[in-house]
Symmetry: C2
Amino acid sequence: MLPPWRSLLSSALHRNRSEPHSRYFQLATVTPEGYPSNRTVVFRGFLEDDHSSLKIITDIRSAKIQDIERQAIGEICWYFTKTREQFRIQGVLRLVKAQDEDADLLKARKITWHNLSDAARSQFAWADPGQPATGEGKKDAETRRHGDGENGNPTQNFVNPPAIDKSAFDVEPPDPNLPLDTFCLLLLVPQKVDHLQLRGDPQQRCIYQLQTDTAWSSQLVNP
Amino acid sequence: MLPPWRSLLSSALHRNRSEPHSRYFQLATVTPEGYPSNRTVVFRGFLEDDHSSLKIITDIRSAKIQDIERQAIGEICWYFTKTREQFRIQGVLRLVKAQDEDADLLKARKITWHNLSDAARSQFAWADPGQPATGEGKKDAETRRHGDGENGNPTQNFVNPPAIDKSAFDVEPPDPNLPLDTFCLLLLVPQKVDHLQLRGDPQQRCIYQLQTDTAWSSQLVNP
Protein backbone atom coordinates (compact mmCIF):
# COMPACT_ATOMS: atom_id res chain seq x y z
CA MET A 1 0.00 0.00 0.00
CA LEU A 2 1.32 3.42 -0.95
CA PRO A 3 1.79 6.13 1.71
CA PRO A 4 -1.18 8.55 1.92
CA TRP A 5 0.86 11.53 0.60
CA ARG A 6 2.08 9.63 -2.43
CA SER A 7 -0.96 10.16 -4.67
CA LEU A 8 -0.93 13.88 -3.82
CA LEU A 9 2.68 14.13 -4.94
CA SER A 10 1.96 12.22 -8.16
CA SER A 11 -0.96 14.52 -8.78
CA ALA A 12 1.22 17.60 -8.26
CA LEU A 13 3.83 16.21 -10.65
CA HIS A 14 1.14 15.60 -13.22
CA ARG A 15 -0.58 18.95 -12.88
CA ASN A 16 2.73 20.83 -13.07
CA ARG A 17 4.20 18.71 -15.87
CA SER A 18 4.18 21.61 -18.37
CA GLU A 19 6.95 23.25 -16.34
CA PRO A 20 10.28 21.40 -16.60
CA HIS A 21 11.45 22.92 -13.31
CA SER A 22 8.66 21.10 -11.49
CA ARG A 23 11.03 18.12 -11.40
CA TYR A 24 13.65 20.10 -9.46
CA PHE A 25 13.63 20.38 -5.69
CA GLN A 26 15.93 21.61 -2.94
CA LEU A 27 17.73 19.09 -0.76
CA ALA A 28 19.01 20.23 2.64
CA THR A 29 21.64 18.34 4.61
CA VAL A 30 23.85 19.18 7.57
CA THR A 31 27.60 19.64 7.04
CA PRO A 32 30.16 17.87 9.27
CA GLU A 33 30.55 21.27 11.01
CA GLY A 34 26.83 21.27 11.82
CA TYR A 35 25.77 23.94 9.33
CA PRO A 36 22.82 23.70 6.97
CA SER A 37 23.59 23.05 3.31
CA ASN A 38 21.04 23.44 0.53
CA ARG A 39 21.09 22.77 -3.21
CA THR A 40 18.78 22.16 -6.15
CA VAL A 41 18.69 18.59 -7.43
CA VAL A 42 16.67 16.80 -10.09
CA PHE A 43 13.96 14.26 -9.26
CA ARG A 44 14.81 11.01 -11.08
CA GLY A 45 11.61 9.17 -10.26
CA PHE A 46 10.55 6.85 -7.47
CA LEU A 47 12.48 3.73 -6.59
CA GLU A 48 11.01 0.78 -8.47
CA ASP A 49 11.03 -1.38 -5.33
CA ASP A 50 8.82 0.67 -3.00
CA HIS A 51 7.39 3.35 -5.35
CA SER A 52 7.89 5.98 -2.67
CA SER A 53 11.64 6.52 -2.13
CA LEU A 54 12.83 9.46 -4.21
CA LYS A 55 15.73 8.96 -6.59
CA ILE A 56 18.44 11.61 -6.93
CA ILE A 57 21.84 11.28 -8.53
CA THR A 58 25.12 12.76 -7.36
CA ASP A 59 28.83 12.66 -8.07
CA ILE A 60 30.85 10.90 -5.37
CA ARG A 61 33.22 13.90 -5.47
CA SER A 62 30.37 16.25 -4.49
CA ALA A 63 30.50 17.97 -1.09
CA LYS A 64 27.10 16.55 -0.11
CA ILE A 65 28.62 13.06 0.14
CA GLN A 66 30.50 14.11 3.28
CA ASP A 67 27.35 15.57 4.78
CA ILE A 68 25.43 12.35 4.17
CA GLU A 69 28.18 10.04 5.39
CA ARG A 70 28.27 12.01 8.62
CA GLN A 71 24.49 12.20 9.05
CA ALA A 72 22.14 10.44 6.65
CA ILE A 73 19.11 12.67 7.19
CA GLY A 74 17.86 15.11 4.58
CA GLU A 75 14.91 17.37 4.00
CA ILE A 76 13.54 18.05 0.56
CA CYS A 77 11.61 21.24 -0.10
CA TRP A 78 9.57 20.87 -3.26
CA TYR A 79 7.55 23.85 -4.34
CA PHE A 80 5.19 23.49 -7.32
CA THR A 81 4.82 26.89 -8.92
CA LYS A 82 1.74 26.20 -11.01
CA THR A 83 -0.48 24.62 -8.36
CA ARG A 84 1.14 26.64 -5.56
CA GLU A 85 1.74 23.77 -3.18
CA GLN A 86 4.77 22.69 -1.18
CA PHE A 87 5.94 19.29 0.00
CA ARG A 88 8.58 19.20 2.71
CA ILE A 89 9.85 15.64 2.81
CA GLN A 90 12.17 14.58 5.60
CA GLY A 91 13.80 11.20 5.35
CA VAL A 92 16.78 8.92 5.49
CA LEU A 93 19.38 9.33 2.77
CA ARG A 94 20.93 6.22 1.27
CA LEU A 95 23.96 6.44 -1.03
CA VAL A 96 24.31 3.66 -3.61
CA LYS A 97 27.88 3.60 -4.94
CA ALA A 98 29.55 1.20 -7.38
CA GLN A 99 30.69 -1.03 -4.49
CA ASP A 100 27.28 -1.39 -2.85
CA GLU A 101 26.47 -4.85 -1.52
CA ASP A 102 22.72 -4.65 -2.09
CA ALA A 103 22.07 -6.28 -5.48
CA ASP A 104 18.62 -4.69 -5.88
CA LEU A 105 19.98 -1.22 -5.25
CA LEU A 106 22.91 -1.80 -7.60
CA LYS A 107 20.37 -2.74 -10.24
CA ALA A 108 18.44 0.49 -9.54
CA ARG A 109 21.72 2.40 -9.87
CA LYS A 110 22.35 0.80 -13.25
CA ILE A 111 18.82 1.50 -14.52
CA THR A 112 19.02 5.11 -13.37
CA TRP A 113 22.34 5.55 -15.18
CA HIS A 114 20.91 3.99 -18.31
CA ASN A 115 17.93 6.34 -18.30
CA LEU A 116 20.10 9.49 -18.21
CA SER A 117 20.85 11.57 -21.28
CA ASP A 118 24.35 11.51 -22.77
CA ALA A 119 24.81 15.04 -21.48
CA ALA A 120 23.89 14.05 -17.93
CA ARG A 121 26.14 10.98 -18.03
CA SER A 122 29.04 13.05 -19.36
CA GLN A 123 29.04 15.25 -16.26
CA PHE A 124 30.36 12.30 -14.27
CA ALA A 125 33.46 12.33 -16.46
CA TRP A 126 34.02 16.04 -15.92
CA ALA A 127 36.81 17.59 -13.87
CA ASP A 128 36.50 17.40 -10.08
CA PRO A 129 33.40 19.46 -9.11
CA GLY A 130 33.92 22.28 -6.63
CA GLN A 131 37.69 22.36 -7.18
CA PRO A 132 39.33 25.52 -8.49
CA ALA A 133 38.93 25.76 -12.25
CA THR A 134 42.20 24.75 -13.89
CA GLY A 135 41.73 26.80 -17.03
CA GLU A 136 42.78 29.92 -15.15
CA GLY A 137 46.42 30.97 -15.48
CA LYS A 138 48.52 30.41 -12.36
CA LYS A 139 48.24 33.98 -11.23
CA ASP A 140 44.55 34.18 -12.00
CA ALA A 141 43.94 30.88 -10.30
CA GLU A 142 44.78 32.35 -6.94
CA THR A 143 41.76 33.38 -5.02
CA ARG A 144 40.86 36.85 -6.14
CA ARG A 145 39.98 39.44 -3.57
CA HIS A 146 37.44 42.20 -3.89
CA GLY A 147 36.93 45.42 -2.08
CA ASP A 148 40.09 45.40 -0.01
CA GLY A 149 42.18 47.53 -2.35
CA GLU A 150 44.59 44.79 -3.41
CA ASN A 151 43.50 45.05 -7.01
CA GLY A 152 43.26 48.21 -9.03
CA ASN A 153 39.86 47.28 -10.32
CA PRO A 154 38.60 44.18 -8.61
CA THR A 155 35.14 44.46 -10.06
CA GLN A 156 36.53 44.08 -13.55
CA ASN A 157 38.01 40.72 -12.60
CA PHE A 158 34.57 39.67 -11.72
CA VAL A 159 32.76 40.99 -14.75
CA ASN A 160 35.21 39.22 -17.05
CA PRO A 161 36.25 36.10 -15.20
CA PRO A 162 38.89 34.04 -17.01
CA ALA A 163 37.39 31.27 -19.10
CA ILE A 164 37.76 27.80 -17.65
CA ASP A 165 39.49 25.00 -19.52
CA LYS A 166 36.81 23.55 -21.78
CA SER A 167 38.81 20.41 -22.52
CA ALA A 168 38.14 19.16 -19.00
CA PHE A 169 34.43 19.14 -19.85
CA ASP A 170 34.57 18.07 -23.48
CA VAL A 171 34.39 14.33 -22.98
CA GLU A 172 33.14 11.34 -24.93
CA PRO A 173 29.70 10.24 -23.72
CA PRO A 174 30.18 7.30 -21.33
CA ASP A 175 28.73 3.84 -22.04
CA PRO A 176 24.99 3.83 -21.10
CA ASN A 177 25.36 0.28 -19.81
CA LEU A 178 28.37 0.87 -17.61
CA PRO A 179 27.95 3.46 -14.83
CA LEU A 180 31.13 5.39 -14.07
CA ASP A 181 32.58 4.95 -10.58
CA THR A 182 31.88 8.62 -9.88
CA PHE A 183 28.16 8.00 -10.37
CA CYS A 184 26.16 7.62 -7.22
CA LEU A 185 22.46 6.92 -6.84
CA LEU A 186 21.04 8.76 -3.85
CA LEU A 187 17.74 7.72 -2.31
CA LEU A 188 15.63 9.68 0.11
CA VAL A 189 13.36 7.34 2.07
CA PRO A 190 10.54 9.56 3.41
CA GLN A 191 9.68 9.58 7.12
CA LYS A 192 7.69 12.78 7.40
CA VAL A 193 5.82 14.81 4.79
CA ASP A 194 4.46 18.31 5.37
CA HIS A 195 2.06 19.28 2.59
CA LEU A 196 0.99 22.91 2.28
CA GLN A 197 -1.53 24.17 -0.26
CA LEU A 198 -1.44 27.93 -0.68
CA ARG A 199 -4.53 27.93 -2.85
CA GLY A 200 -7.72 27.74 -0.88
CA ASP A 201 -9.29 29.85 1.81
CA PRO A 202 -7.72 29.34 4.23
CA GLN A 203 -4.57 27.56 3.08
CA GLN A 204 -4.47 23.89 3.94
CA ARG A 205 -1.65 22.02 5.61
CA CYS A 206 -1.36 18.37 6.53
CA ILE A 207 1.52 16.50 8.17
CA TYR A 208 2.10 12.81 7.51
CA GLN A 209 4.42 10.76 9.70
CA LEU A 210 5.72 7.26 9.38
CA GLN A 211 4.71 5.31 12.50
CA THR A 212 5.92 1.82 11.68
CA ASP A 213 7.50 0.30 8.59
CA THR A 214 4.40 0.92 6.49
CA ALA A 215 1.85 2.77 8.66
CA TRP A 216 1.51 6.53 8.31
CA SER A 217 -0.40 8.97 10.51
CA SER A 218 -1.85 12.20 9.18
CA GLN A 219 -2.73 15.39 10.99
CA LEU A 220 -4.36 18.50 9.61
CA VAL A 221 -2.58 21.51 11.12
CA ASN A 222 -2.97 25.27 10.94
CA PRO A 223 -1.14 26.75 7.94
CA MET B 1 30.87 49.07 -1.86
CA LEU B 2 28.50 46.26 -2.69
CA PRO B 3 29.66 42.62 -2.57
CA PRO B 4 30.72 41.27 -5.99
CA TRP B 5 27.80 38.80 -6.20
CA ARG B 6 25.23 41.46 -5.49
CA SER B 7 24.86 42.84 -9.02
CA LEU B 8 24.53 39.28 -10.36
CA LEU B 9 21.68 38.62 -7.99
CA SER B 10 19.97 41.89 -8.90
CA SER B 11 20.38 41.01 -12.55
CA ALA B 12 18.84 37.56 -11.99
CA LEU B 13 15.91 39.15 -10.15
CA HIS B 14 15.41 41.56 -13.00
CA ARG B 15 15.67 39.02 -15.79
CA ASN B 16 13.28 36.63 -14.05
CA ARG B 17 10.80 39.30 -12.95
CA SER B 18 8.03 37.99 -15.22
CA GLU B 19 7.77 34.93 -12.98
CA PRO B 20 6.30 35.71 -9.54
CA HIS B 21 7.94 32.60 -8.06
CA SER B 22 11.37 34.08 -8.80
CA ARG B 23 11.00 35.92 -5.48
CA TYR B 24 10.66 32.66 -3.54
CA PHE B 25 13.65 30.72 -2.29
CA GLN B 26 14.33 27.81 0.05
CA LEU B 27 15.82 28.48 3.47
CA ALA B 28 17.59 25.63 5.26
CA THR B 29 18.30 25.64 8.99
CA VAL B 30 19.30 22.99 11.50
CA THR B 31 16.78 21.84 14.13
CA PRO B 32 17.71 21.65 17.84
CA GLU B 33 18.01 17.85 17.27
CA GLY B 34 20.61 18.48 14.56
CA TYR B 35 18.44 17.63 11.55
CA PRO B 36 18.15 19.71 8.39
CA SER B 37 14.96 21.72 7.93
CA ASN B 38 13.96 23.33 4.66
CA ARG B 39 11.08 25.57 3.59
CA THR B 40 10.08 28.04 0.91
CA VAL B 41 10.06 31.69 1.97
CA VAL B 42 9.45 34.96 0.16
CA PHE B 43 12.21 37.47 -0.57
CA ARG B 44 11.17 40.82 0.92
CA GLY B 45 14.01 42.88 -0.53
CA PHE B 46 17.43 43.86 0.72
CA LEU B 47 17.97 45.59 4.04
CA GLU B 48 18.01 49.34 3.49
CA ASP B 49 21.13 49.74 5.67
CA ASP B 50 23.61 47.52 3.82
CA HIS B 51 21.76 46.69 0.59
CA SER B 52 22.95 43.10 0.78
CA SER B 53 21.27 41.42 3.76
CA LEU B 54 18.18 39.54 2.60
CA LYS B 55 14.86 40.28 4.28
CA ILE B 56 12.45 37.46 5.12
CA ILE B 57 9.45 37.54 7.43
CA THR B 58 8.28 34.89 9.83
CA ASP B 59 5.80 34.30 12.61
CA ILE B 60 7.37 34.01 16.06
CA ARG B 61 5.23 30.90 16.58
CA SER B 62 6.90 29.21 13.57
CA ALA B 63 9.12 26.17 14.17
CA LYS B 64 12.08 27.83 12.45
CA ILE B 65 12.42 30.29 15.35
CA GLN B 66 13.69 27.48 17.59
CA ASP B 67 16.17 26.39 14.91
CA ILE B 68 17.55 29.91 14.61
CA GLU B 69 17.70 30.59 18.34
CA ARG B 70 19.74 27.43 18.73
CA GLN B 71 22.04 28.10 15.74
CA ALA B 72 21.80 31.30 13.75
CA ILE B 73 23.21 29.97 10.49
CA GLY B 74 21.11 29.42 7.39
CA GLU B 75 21.60 28.54 3.76
CA ILE B 76 19.35 29.88 1.06
CA CYS B 77 18.99 28.00 -2.20
CA TRP B 78 17.61 30.28 -4.87
CA TYR B 79 17.00 28.79 -8.26
CA PHE B 80 15.93 31.08 -11.10
CA THR B 81 13.92 29.01 -13.55
CA LYS B 82 14.03 31.38 -16.51
CA THR B 83 17.76 32.10 -16.60
CA ARG B 84 18.63 28.67 -15.15
CA GLU B 85 21.00 29.88 -12.48
CA GLN B 86 21.32 29.08 -8.79
CA PHE B 87 22.56 31.12 -5.85
CA ARG B 88 23.40 29.25 -2.67
CA ILE B 89 23.76 31.88 0.02
CA GLN B 90 25.08 30.90 3.42
CA GLY B 91 24.92 33.45 6.17
CA VAL B 92 24.09 34.54 9.68
CA LEU B 93 20.41 34.74 10.57
CA ARG B 94 19.20 37.63 12.68
CA LEU B 95 15.70 37.69 14.16
CA VAL B 96 14.17 41.12 14.72
CA LYS B 97 11.24 40.83 17.13
CA ALA B 98 9.04 43.52 18.67
CA GLN B 99 11.35 43.80 21.69
CA ASP B 100 14.58 44.28 19.70
CA GLU B 101 17.01 46.82 21.15
CA ASP B 102 18.45 47.93 17.80
CA ALA B 103 16.48 51.03 16.75
CA ASP B 104 17.55 50.77 13.10
CA LEU B 105 16.42 47.17 12.85
CA LEU B 106 13.14 47.95 14.61
CA LYS B 107 12.58 50.62 11.98
CA ALA B 108 13.31 48.09 9.23
CA ARG B 109 10.81 45.73 10.86
CA LYS B 110 8.17 48.46 10.84
CA ILE B 111 8.82 49.38 7.20
CA THR B 112 8.67 45.75 6.14
CA TRP B 113 5.35 45.29 7.95
CA HIS B 114 3.98 48.43 6.34
CA ASN B 115 4.93 47.21 2.86
CA LEU B 116 3.02 43.94 3.21
CA SER B 117 -0.42 43.37 1.71
CA ASP B 118 -3.44 43.16 4.02
CA ALA B 119 -3.58 39.43 3.26
CA ALA B 120 0.04 38.92 4.29
CA ARG B 121 -0.40 40.96 7.48
CA SER B 122 -3.56 39.04 8.38
CA GLN B 123 -1.63 35.76 8.53
CA PHE B 124 0.07 37.01 11.69
CA ALA B 125 -3.34 37.15 13.37
CA TRP B 126 -4.19 33.60 12.31
CA ALA B 127 -4.42 30.60 14.62
CA ASP B 128 -1.15 29.12 15.87
CA PRO B 129 0.72 27.77 12.81
CA GLY B 130 1.68 24.10 12.88
CA GLN B 131 -0.76 23.28 15.67
CA PRO B 132 -3.54 20.74 15.07
CA ALA B 133 -6.43 22.34 13.23
CA THR B 134 -9.21 23.07 15.73
CA GLY B 135 -12.06 22.82 13.26
CA GLU B 136 -11.89 19.06 13.43
CA GLY B 137 -14.40 17.31 15.69
CA LYS B 138 -12.93 15.71 18.81
CA LYS B 139 -12.85 12.26 17.32
CA ASP B 140 -11.48 13.43 13.99
CA ALA B 141 -8.93 15.63 15.69
CA GLU B 142 -7.08 12.59 16.95
CA THR B 143 -4.17 11.73 14.76
CA ARG B 144 -5.50 9.57 12.00
CA ARG B 145 -3.66 6.44 11.06
CA HIS B 146 -3.30 4.93 7.64
CA GLY B 147 -2.43 1.51 6.41
CA ASP B 148 -2.42 -0.27 9.75
CA GLY B 149 -5.95 -1.61 9.58
CA GLU B 150 -7.34 0.50 12.45
CA ASN B 151 -9.81 2.23 10.20
CA GLY B 152 -12.25 0.59 7.86
CA ASN B 153 -11.28 2.90 5.03
CA PRO B 154 -8.39 5.10 6.08
CA THR B 155 -7.84 6.41 2.57
CA GLN B 156 -11.26 8.00 2.57
CA ASN B 157 -10.32 10.03 5.64
CA PHE B 158 -7.48 11.36 3.65
CA VAL B 159 -9.32 12.12 0.45
CA ASN B 160 -11.99 14.08 2.31
CA PRO B 161 -10.20 15.61 5.29
CA PRO B 162 -12.52 17.49 7.65
CA ALA B 163 -12.64 21.21 6.92
CA ILE B 164 -10.72 23.38 9.35
CA ASP B 165 -12.40 26.14 11.29
CA LYS B 166 -12.43 29.12 8.95
CA SER B 167 -13.23 31.59 11.71
CA ALA B 168 -9.68 31.24 13.08
CA PHE B 169 -8.42 32.64 9.76
CA ASP B 170 -11.14 35.15 9.01
CA VAL B 171 -9.62 38.16 10.76
CA GLU B 172 -9.76 41.92 10.37
CA PRO B 173 -6.67 43.22 8.53
CA PRO B 174 -4.20 44.50 11.17
CA ASP B 175 -3.10 48.15 11.31
CA PRO B 176 -0.38 48.74 8.65
CA ASN B 177 1.42 51.06 11.06
CA LEU B 178 1.46 48.76 14.05
CA PRO B 179 3.24 45.42 13.56
CA LEU B 180 1.66 42.59 15.54
CA ASP B 181 3.84 40.98 18.21
CA THR B 182 3.80 37.73 16.24
CA PHE B 183 5.53 39.49 13.33
CA CYS B 184 9.23 38.91 13.08
CA LEU B 185 11.67 40.32 10.54
CA LEU B 186 14.34 37.78 9.70
CA LEU B 187 17.61 38.85 8.07
CA LEU B 188 20.14 36.64 6.37
CA VAL B 189 23.53 38.35 6.35
CA PRO B 190 25.51 36.60 3.57
CA GLN B 191 28.95 35.13 4.27
CA LYS B 192 29.35 32.80 1.31
CA VAL B 193 27.69 32.77 -2.11
CA ASP B 194 27.94 29.89 -4.59
CA HIS B 195 26.70 30.98 -8.01
CA LEU B 196 26.04 28.31 -10.64
CA GLN B 197 24.98 29.08 -14.20
CA LEU B 198 23.58 26.04 -16.00
CA ARG B 199 23.45 27.86 -19.31
CA GLY B 200 26.77 27.96 -21.07
CA ASP B 201 29.18 25.32 -22.28
CA PRO B 202 30.48 24.28 -19.88
CA GLN B 203 28.37 25.47 -16.96
CA GLN B 204 29.99 28.18 -14.88
CA ARG B 205 30.37 28.25 -11.11
CA CYS B 206 31.93 30.86 -8.87
CA ILE B 207 32.24 30.93 -5.09
CA TYR B 208 32.40 34.21 -3.18
CA GLN B 209 33.49 34.34 0.44
CA LEU B 210 33.48 37.11 2.98
CA GLN B 211 37.06 37.60 4.21
CA THR B 212 36.70 40.62 6.47
CA ASP B 213 33.79 42.90 7.27
CA THR B 214 33.56 44.15 3.72
CA ALA B 215 36.16 42.28 1.63
CA TRP B 216 35.04 39.34 -0.51
CA SER B 217 37.15 36.77 -2.33
CA SER B 218 35.98 35.01 -5.46
CA GLN B 219 37.05 31.71 -6.95
CA LEU B 220 35.96 30.14 -10.21
CA VAL B 221 35.43 26.43 -9.57
CA ASN B 222 34.49 23.42 -11.65
CA PRO B 223 30.71 23.04 -11.99
